[in-house]
C-alpha cells in the first residue's frame, strides 16, 4: 500500500479517527507532564533566576512556529506536485496553529526580555524574525479566507507559501545583518542550547515532545474539519444542481 492512500479524504478520515485518541492522549500526557516537571521541579538558574522556567514554553513554541511553516511548505509542495486535496487542507489547517505558536513565542520572549533587557520589546534579531514570520502567517491565512473557490485558494496559497519561505529566510538573514551591533550575548539568551544544563534539558525535551504532539493533534482535528467542510460544500452544490 502506498503512502498516498492517506491522501484520499475517506481513507484519511478513517485513519485519523483511529489515530486521534492516541495522539491526543500522548499530547496531554507529555504536555502536562513536561510543564509540571519544568514549572515545579526544576531549580532556578543562577543568572536568570526563575525566569528560566519560561524556556519550557518559549523554546518549544518557537520551534513549532518554524516547524509549522515548514510543514505547510511541504504540504503545499505535495499539493502542487501531486494535487492531493488533503495535503492542501492540512496546510490550511496548520496555519492558525503556527500563528498561535508564533504569538506565544513572541509574548513569552517579550515577557522574558522585560526583566532581562529592561524593556518589553527589543529589536533582537530572533524576536524580530518571529514578528516577520507572524506577518507571513497573517498574509497566508488572509489569502485563504479571501478566495471563494477552494482549489484556487489552495493553488494561490501554495505559491505564496513557496515564495514566502524564500523571503522569510532572506528576512531572517537580513534582520541578523541589520542588527549585528545589538545582538544579545549568548549567556543572556534563552535559545543557546549549550547553556542549558541537563537539569533543564530533560523537562525541556518532554515539553518539546508535548508541543509536537499537540501540533499533530490540532492539525488532525482541523484537517478533519476542513475535509468535512469541503464535503459539505460539495453536497450543497450537488443539491443546488439537482
Amino acid at each position: 500500500m502506498s503512502i498516498w492512500e492517506y491522501a484520499n479524504p475517506k481513507k484519511f478520515m478513517q485513519t485519523s479517527a483511529w489515530a486521534l485518541p492516541w495522539v491526543t492522549g500522548l499530547a496531554v500526557v507529555a504536555l502536562v507532564g513536561g510543564l509540571i516537571w519544568g514549572f515545579f521541579f526544576t531549580p532556578d538558574d543562577y543568572k536568570q533566576g526563575s525566569t528560566v522556567k519560561i524556556i519550557y514554553i518559549h523554546v518549544p513554541s518557537a520551534m513549532m512556529a518554524i516547524n509549522a511553516w515548514v510543514m505547510m511548505l511541504v504540504a503545499s509542495l505535495i499539493w502542487i506536485i501531486r494535487r492531493h486535496h488533503v495535503s492542501a487542507l492540512a496546510a490550511k489547517a496548520a496555519a492558525p496553529i503556527g500563528m498561535t505558536m508564533t504569538l506565544i513565542a513572541l509574548f513569552t520572549g517579550a515577557i522574558w526580555g522585560q526583566p532581562m533587557w529592561g524593556t518589553w520589546w527589543a529589536w533582537d534579531p530572533r524576536l524580530t524574525s518571529f514578528l516577520i514570520l507572524f506577518l507571513f502567517y497573517l498574509g497566508y491565512i488572509a489569502l485563504w479566507e479571501a478566495i471563494d473557490d477552494p482549489d484556487t485558494a489552495a493553488d494561490l496559497t501554495s505559491v505564496l507559501c513557496l515564495v514566502g519561505s524564500v523571503f522569510a529566510l532572506l528576512s531572517r538573514y537580513a534582520v541578523n545583518f541589520w542588527n549585528q551591533g545589538l545582538h544579545q550575548e549568548a549567556s543572556l539568551s534563552m535559545d543557546a542550547e549549550e547553556n542549558v544544563a541537563d537539569v533543564f534539558w530533560y523537562p525541556l525535551l518532554v515539553c518539546i515532545a508535548g508541543f509536537v504532539l499537540l501540533f499533530v493533534t490540532l492539525v488532525l482535528i482541523r484537517t478533519r474539519t476542513e475535509i468535512r467542510s469541503r464535503r459539505l460544500k460539495a453536497l450543497e452544490a450537488r443539491e443546488r444542481m439537482a
Partner: protein, 218 residues
C-alpha cells in the same frame, strides 16, 4: 513584448496620475515626517535614509493593484493569456512598466526630497544608487502580489498585507546602504545583497506570478 511595455506606458500617460500619484504620495510622506518628529536637523538627518526608503516603498505599494486590475476587468488579460507570448514575459513587462512609471520617478525625485530631510553628504549618492538597484525588486515582488489578488473584489488591503512582509529584506538592505553611506562607512555588503535580491526576484518571481495569473484566470 516591447509592444506590451509601450502600450502600458501609453496607458499610464493617458490615464494621468500614473507617474504623479506615487510621487505625490512620496512627497507628502516626506513632508509629514518633520511635523511628526520635529524640525531639528540632526534628528532628521539621522532618520532620513529610513524615511526615504519607507516612503518610496509605500509609494510603490500604492499603485500595485492597478498592474493587472484594469486588464482583468476589460478582458485583456484573458486575451494576453491566450496570445502567443508566454505569460512569464507578460508579467515581466507589466513589472517593467510599473517600475518605469512608479519606481524610476521615485529614484529621480528621492535626492530632492532628501534635501527636505537634511540628508547628509554622500547620502544623496547612495540613496539614488540603492533606490535604482532596489525599486525594480519592489516592482517585481509587487507584481507577484498583484497576480495573487487579481481576481479578488477587495484585493487592495490584502495585497498590502501579502506584499509588505516580502519587502522586508529589500528595505533592510536598501536603507542600510544609505545609512552606511551617510556615515561614511563601507556600503559594499548591503549593496551587493540588495542587487542580489533584485536579480533573483527579476529572474525567478515572474514564474510564480505567471502561475498565479493562470490560476486566477481559470
Amino acid at each position: 513584448m516591447i509592444a506590451l511595455l509601450l502600450r502600458d506606458l501609453r496607458l499610464a500617460i493617458r490615464a494621468g496620475g500614473g507617474f504623479g500619484l506615487g510621487l505625490a504620495f512620496f512627497l507628502i510622506v516626506t513632508v509629514l515626517v518633520p511635523f511628526g518628529v520635529g524640525p531639528e536637523g540632526g534628528t532628521l538627518a539621522k532618520i532620513a535614509p529610513g524615511i526615504l526608503w519607507v516612503g518610496a516603498l509605500l509609494a510603490c505599494l500604492l499603485s500595485l493593484d492597478r498592474i493587472f486590475a484594469l486588464d482583468f476587468e476589460d478582458g485583456s488579460l484573458d486575451l494576453l493569456a491566450t496570445a502567443p507570448i508566454p505569460l512569464e514575459a507578460v508579467v515581466t513587462m507589466k513589472a517593467a512598466a510599473h517600475w518605469l512609471t512608479t519606481g524610476l520617478p521615485l529614484v529621480v525625485a528621492a535626492p530632492v526630497f532628501g534635501v527636505l530631510l537634511n540628508l547628509q553628504g554622500e547620502g544623496f549618492f547612495w540613496l539614488t544608487v540603492s533606490l535604482a538597484l532596489g525599486t525594480p525588486a519592489l516592482s517585481v515582488i509587487g507584481t507577484f502580489g498583484a497576480a495573487l489578488t487579481v481576481g479578488l473584489k477587495r484585493g487592495g488591503l490584502l495585497l498590502s498585507l501579502l506584499v509588505l512582509p516580502l519587502y522586508v529584506p529589500t528595505l533592510i538592505f536598501g536603507a542600510e546602504t544609505v545609512r552606511r553611506g551617510t556615515e561614511g562607512m563601507e556600503t559594499g555588503a548591503p549593496l551587493m545583497l540588495l542587487a542580489g535580491i533584485t536579480a533573483a526576484s527579476v529572474a525567478l518571481l515572474p514564474f510564480a506570478s505567471a502561475a498565479a495569473i493562470r490560476v486566477n484566470l481559470r
